[in-house]
């Protein structure tokens, strides 16, 4: 297979803190060492992109990345916040240059995260289509030939000759997306994390991606959503603190990624690190969560088949809140939600004063043997807006044998995730 994108030993260094004081002196220092034919003194230092340790002002957002993407591949890129995904995308879209290394590309590269960039509010939709298309690298003739298709795809209709400042934000996004979607690049980059718009629009994004992939073009897909990675991508790449830690088929990459937190030890981590929040408004914060059986309240990470268990979580509320609901989800090893429960379905809504709370949830179902994890969220019930959301936490395992070791899950492959209540009726008719 022919390579279409080659990343060779690419690194990117950033300077932390305010740019301003000291820049001139650093610049002079750099210049002085260049004159003497020496290496840039600031490239030697710099720690890996771990957001918690502070040993240098300079940080490597990416360090020594090597990737070889073949033509027609659909590749998923996964990693935690701060793993270097956005930096990689920035380098690929040429917004900024690498500090060292080389990226080689064949053909046009376009990304769906730049939807509607460069729209000028005073210009009409039509004028903006031309402008935006030209910014993305299309020629005037190319846009003109695709204009009808773009207009049709956007569904803007007769608003096309109205200044875009009169558009709703949805219309603006649709028009921008329509332009980007007709760029016909050889390599398409989609960043789902940054993709704006409603669910409908995101669906459209995914559909377009599938279409592009089926035409045999290359797609790079960045997402937090393991389900879409698994459905769309054949190959997966895991980024961790600026390094590529795993390259393989997407299923393996996902399980590698999800078990990163577990791999270093057998110690059970029940404390929730603040960087695990996918979304946080600062009104409340999950402090810890773990599962336990009913013997005592000690955290366990292995359960027997059909063993009853409960989830215990500590939460800190920073400001008085009302009409609050809390939800708990059970996730499978691919990060997909297999079951979900929320507070308000059983009782009235919560009214929480400032302070710390312990939440306990008795699991009413039995899990099939396999690997699972927890998802937690606290949110305003009526508006649905999330206060704190932990996506994939506390991986645990359900074993094949039961507590008394007398019974065992009878089949080699596990069927499903949740055990159903058995109630059979067999009658001759």
């Amino acid at each position: 297979m022919e390579s279409i994108l080659k990343i060779e030993n690419v690194s990117k260094q950033y300077r932390l803190g305010l740019v301003g004081t000291g820049t001139l002196s650093h610049d002079l220092n750099r210049w002085w060492s260049r004159i003497r034919g020496k290496e840039d003194p600031y490239l030697k230092i710099g720690s890996t992109n771990d957001r918690n340790t502070i040993d240098s002002e300079y940080v490597w957002a990416l360090k020594g990345i090597n990737l070889d993407i073949k033509k027609g591949e659909v590749v998923g890129i996964i990693g935690r916040n701060g793993a270097g995904k956005s930096t990689l995308l920035k380098l690929l879209s040429q917004v900024t240059n690498p500090t060292s290394g080389e990226i080689k590309i064949k053909g046009r590269i376009a990304s769906l995260l730049e939807v509607g960039t460069g729209f000028h509010p005073e210009l009409t939709g039509r004028e903006n289509v031309y402008l935006n298309g030209a910014i993305l690298g299309m020629s005037k003739i190319e846009i003109a030939s695709k204009f009808d298709k773009i207009l049709d795809f956007s569904g803007i209709g007769r608003y096309i000759d109205t200044p875009v400042k009169r558009y709703s934000s949805g219309m603006m996004v649709r028009l921008g997306f329509a332009v980007a979607a007709h760029l016909d690049p050889e390599i398409l980059v989609v960043d789902e994390v940054l993709a704006v718009g409603d669910a409908d629009f995101q669906k459209k994004c995914i559909a377009k991606m599938k279409e592009v992939a089926s035409e045999g073009r290359t797609v790079l897909f960045v997402s937090h959503n393991m389900t879409s990675i698994r459905n769309l991508c054949k190959r997966g790449i895991v980024l961790e603190s600026g390094l590529v830690t795993y390259v393989g088929n997407s299923n393996d990459a996902i399980s590698y990624y999800l078990n990163q937190s577990k791999k270093n030890d057998n110690i059970i981590v029940s404390q929730i690190d603040s960087n695990l929040s996918v979304h946080n408004t600062g009104e409340a914060k999950f402090k810890s969560a773990f599962i336990t059986n009913f013997e005592n309240d000690n955290p366990v990470n292995e359960l027997f088949y059909q063993e009853k268990f409960k989830i215990i979580s500590k939460i800190e509320i920073y400001k008085d809140l009302e009409n609050i609901s809390i939800s708990i989800s059970l996730l499978n090893e691919f990060g997909e939600t297999i079951s979900y429960a929320y507070y308000a379905n059983s009782r009235d809504l919560l009214e929480l004063e400032k302070g710390q709370y312990i939440i306990s949830f008795d699991m009413p179902i039995d899990l099939m043997p396999g690997n699972f994890a927890l998802g937690l969220s606290i949110y305003h019930f009526y508006s649905g807006s999330t206060i704190d959301y932990i996506d994939y936490f506390y991986p645990f395992k359900v074993n094949k044998e039961t507590n008394d070791k007398k019974k065992e899950y009878p089949w080699a492959t596990v069927r499903g995730y949740v055990e159903m209540n058995n109630s059979w009726h067999v009658k001759k008719i």
């Binding site: 960039t117 460069g118 020629s139």
Partner: protein
């Protein structure tokens, strides 16, 4: 090791792409549609939702000319070498405005377009080029106004004696464009790191105006200091114009040549610095 013959890359991104004039002109050609669309965008959007619309192109220099005529001509009584005051000031202002707009508007390239630049790649140089071209359009319109006044005075008085130097006009415009663009690119590249410059620019351009023969004729400057005024590359541009169109002013080939050389140097220094900064400015801006 067998070298793979298939490996023909269309794009190679590496830390330090050296500036090559050849590549640069190719890029400019490839993105010419974008260049014209930017010019159109800026031109069209400038006077949207104004009652007078493009008429403002005429009103601005007209008002400045009147102000200068009243203050410098009538109150301060600075002579104009026998040239009708209105014509004297208007020609200075029209030329100076073009240069000043080129500098003032290109020097904010990076800071103003940060949002766009941080998302999409296209040759950043398109933006300052489009600004200069947009200003050229504006200059053209204002020059028509100047021409109107010139024709009026040409037929009604005997003070105006145009000569062959009139044909230098395109060259003069080119010098100003290169100079304005070059300075603008240098300043905009430096402001990405050192914001202090933004404060200096508008002040500096204003100061430079007083170092050019706009509000006074060059003949007012005593002989031993004249070279100082001519060191300003804009001086001979304005003087050559006045000499050609009005028949007054001091036009010397050697100083015109000096202006040409300076503007070319400034332009290329600007290109090189701009090219260097555009690769990584998003990290420092």
């Amino acid at each position: 090791m067998v070298k793979n013959q298939n490996e023909k890359w269309t794009l190679i991104i590496s830390p330090n792409n050296k500036f090559k004039l050849n590549n640069f002109s190719k890029l400019l050609f490839k993105y010419k549609d974008l260049l014209f669309l930017f010019v159109k965008r800026d031109f069209v959007s400038q006077y949207k939702q104004t009652i007078l619309g493009p008429l403002w192109f005429f009103i601005q220099p007209l008002l400045t000319t009147i102000t200068f005529t009243v203050i410098f001509g009538n109150l301060a009584k600075i002579p104009t070498d026998g040239v009708p005051k209105i014509l004297f000031y208007m020609s200075g202002i029209t030329f100076w405005n073009y240069f000043a707009d080129c500098v003032n508007k290109t020097c904010t390239t990076f800071v103003l377009n940060q949002g766009l630049f941080s998302k999409v790649y296209f040759p950043r140089i398109i933006v300052p080029f489009s600004v200069v071209m947009n200003n050229l359009l504006k200059f053209g319109i204002q020059f028509l106004l100047l021409l109107l006044f010139w024709l009026y005075f040409y037929f009604s008085t005997k003070e105006i004696n145009p000569n062959y130097t009139i044909s230098f006009l395109p060259l003069l415009v080119l010098i100003m464009a290169l100079l304005g663009l070059g300075l603008g690119m240098i300043i905009s590249s430096l402001t990405t790191k050192y914001r202090d410059l933004t404060f200096l620019v508008s002040f500096g351009v204003q100061l430079m105006m007083y170092a050019s023969p706009i509000v006074y004729p060059i003949s007012l400057v005593s002989y031993e200091y004249k070279w100082l005024i001519f060191l300003n590359p804009m001086t001979s541009v304005i003087e050559t114009f006045k000499y050609g169109f009005l028949g007054h002013g001091e036009h010397e080939f050697i100083w015109l040549l000096y202006s040409i050389v300076i503007s070319i140097i400034v332009f290329f220094v600007g290109l090189v610095i701009f090219n260097k900064v555009e690769k990584s400015f998003i990290d420092t801006v």
